[in-house]
């Protein structure tokens, strides 16, 4: 069943390269993602047992992230159908700098999208840390062409930065894996989770600490933690909207999963204090970076990218604080992915309508694209954690745990940065939504609001609001299971 989960997107991705009809290819995309979602749901209901020593298996942590990835991808594929048909007939034009550009062949795009899904699935189902590493490397290499969909200078620059920085980061993560192997040599542990967790107590602590550091830096680069985040704003702002949604909502989580697996082993070995401190430090650093760069931001997609960095910081902070904060962090992960994906989808509609990414050029969303404007504003409230957003619950849990654990300084910094981010985001979102609509001269070029492109965003937002009001039992179970796993249990 699990192999099927990876094979379906892999095979459909390879087929997409061969299909020449656009409509059929897009249909394949939607069908494959629907099948993937169905398989995920059935695995969730059936919960196959984890065979020890197997390379693939799904525990609660993996299942949580797999679910997020699958749902996000399905929404993205629905969005993609309309998006790609727009891109086909509307010549690429960038009114910021006034050049016209081509797009990548659609076959390559859809093929890489499906292969990308397969790689991300492999990350979530890996029980062997070497396999996890290879899958994360594969996601980097497969998502680079996706970023370069619009073929112009800025996206090329973004692709190059992404490729180089993430590859170097993953090389460091490889070093971390080797250190982990060194830690386990005397105990005879391999690199699979079972043996590492069962022998955690006898692993060499010096090697283990060094391994965690390297794995944290390596996968943290991929996750977008400051100060390794430099590729993130460029890559997430230059790629097409649905790719940004997948990168922000799914890929960052998968990278976080890599760090969490390492943390599992360390906590099992009794180094919880060490890992907790590192998580908290880099979490706060990411929050600070995001806060600094959101103020005075001029590009709304970059703003969303920095908001992703902020939320990755919150995740790291939550896991570092331990206890109830871990639950809050995981809930935040779910809610953030859904909200950020929705926001990126809406931003794609705005970009198609206004043809510019500058905030100063986009005004009067309510007047011109009313549905989009409502969703945009709703997204703002949800992402900043206004109740009844699920993100609000997550942030509140982290705050409570911080105060209960006595981390007063961290809680104060956390609140301060959240407030700064709220202020920055608020100014930008409100500026864009309200105000006078631009002149009628440009109105003729509007493709209008496409319902198909807005429906996935609306659905995601509704889910997040529901999460804020009522937590379904199955979700609570999974998050509790994941929380226990992070505590070092096998």
């Amino acid at each position: 069943m699990i192999t099927l989960l990876m094979l379906v997107p892999l095979l459909s991705g390879l087929m997409a390269f061969l299909i020449s009809d656009d409509g059929r290819r897009r249909g394949l995309l939607v069908a494959a993602s629907a099948l993937h979602l169905a398989l995920t749901i059935s695995i969730f209901v059936a919960r196959p047992e984890i065979v020890p020593g197997d390379w693939f298996g799904l525990d609660a942590l993996g299942l949580l992230f797999l679910g997020i990835t699958s749902v996000l991808f399905f929404g993205a594929s629905v969005y993609a159908v309309k998006y790609l048909s727009f891109e086909k007939y509307d010549p690429g034009e960038d009114s910021d700098e006034g050049f016209i550009f081509n797009n990548q062949p659609e076959a390559v795009f859809i093929g890489c999208l499906l292969l990308f899904l397969s790689a991300m699935t492999a990350v979530t189902v890996s029980r062997h840390l070497g396999m996890l590493w290879a899958a994360v490397e594969a996601t980097t290499l497969l998502s680079a062409p996706l970023i370069y969909f619009h073929r112009h200078k800025r996206s090329l620059e973004a692709t190059w930065k992404y490729l180089l920085i993430c590859s170097v980061g993953i090389a460091l993560a490889l070093m971390g894996n080797l250190f982990l192997g060194a830690a386990g040599i005397k105990a005879g542990a391999g690199l699979d989770l079972e043996s590492l967790l069962s022998k955690a107590a006898v692993l060499d602590p010096a090697w283990l600490k060094a391994a965690f550091l390297f794995l944290f830096v390596g996968y943290g680069t991929k996750m977008g933690l400051a100060p390794f985040h430099t590729w993130l704003p460029d890559a997430h702002s230059e790629s097409p909207a649905l790719v940004s949604a997948l990168l922000s909502g799914a890929l960052l989580n998968c990278a976080f999963l890599g760090i969490l697996r390492a943390a599992q082993v360390c906590v099992g070995a009794g180094l919880a204090g060490f890992t907790g401190d590192i998580f908290i430090l880099f979490g706060l650093l990411s929050l600070m970076t995001a806060a600094l760069f959101i103020l005075g931001q001029r590009d709304y997609k970059r703003m969303l990218a920095y908001s992703s960095i902020e939320h990755m910081g919150i995740l790291s902070l939550g896991v570092g604080l331990g206890g109830g904060a871990v639950y809050g962090a995981l809930l935040n992960a779910v809610a953030h992915s859904l909200t950020k994906a929705g926001l990126f989808f809406v931003s794609g509609v705005i970009l198609a309508a206004y043809k510019t990414k500058q905030i100063s050029e986009v005004k009067g969303l309510f007047r011109r694209l009313p549905k989009t404007g409502i969703l945009w504003l709703a997204g703002f409230f949800l992402i900043t954690g206004t109740p009844p957003s699920g993100i609000f619950l997550g942030k509140l849990m982290i705050l409570t745990a911080a105060l209960a654990g006595g981390h007063y300084a961290a809680a104060a910094a956390y609140l301060f940065f959240l407030a700064v981010v709220f202020a920055g985001l608020g100014r930008i979102f409100l500026e864009m939504t309200f105000g006078e609509a631009p002149q009628a001269g440009t109105a003729g070029k509007l493709p209008g609001e496409s319902r198909q492109m807005l429906i996935p965003a609306a659905c995601f937002f509704v889910c997040v609001i529901v999460l804020g009001l009522y937590m379904p039992g199955w979700l609570t179970d999974i998050i509790y299971g994941a929380q226990r796993l992070i505590g070092g249990v096998i």
Partner: protein, 224 residues
Amino acid sequence: MHTTAELIIVAIILLDLSLAVSGSLATCIRLAAAQGVIAAILPLLAGSGAPESRAVIFSSTVILLKGVIFPWLLTRARVKANARKDVEPFIGYPASIILCLGAFAAASWLGTRLPLPETTRVAWIVPASLATIFTGFLLITTRAKAITQVLGYLVIENGIYVFGLALFVEQPLMVELAILLDIFVAVFVMGITIFHISREFDHIDTDELSQLSDWHPQRDGEAK
């Protein structure tokens, strides 16, 4: 045996130093290839007596990849991109050498804190691998060309490879071959991207790929 392995480690470190200061792109590619090939000879020295056939096949694959295929890919990228020959580093010769030597000293100190299991007999593997990784980082940050950045990535992987050899002395196959495959695909993709960059920008100076940033100079008359 012991001494030959030590000599190879010294050669790797000397190649690090020469990579850090060399100013010609073709030389850099050759030095990185030489480093990969020399490091590939190390597993043949592990164990006593004649090396077993598995180790020989493995070493020859690595030598083929790192000594022939990677330099060929990079040279092709360089020729297609019409790269100018010089890649003078931003920091001067003495500064580069001192940084590399300092990194080696720091790596040696780290090496004393991370004791290797008794199966490895060459004590310098951890410092050499860490110093090589540092040289790779130096190459990436102090050079302007996209190809040298890919070279820096390859040098980092050389360092990781040497470290892997220290640990998995008896079974280098699975781990290292998988890593090599990943590197090959990564270099391939990077080569394609470099080609695109040269076509789009008419140069491969990553120093000038700085349009995307958040630091905007103040412009007059902007309503903010």
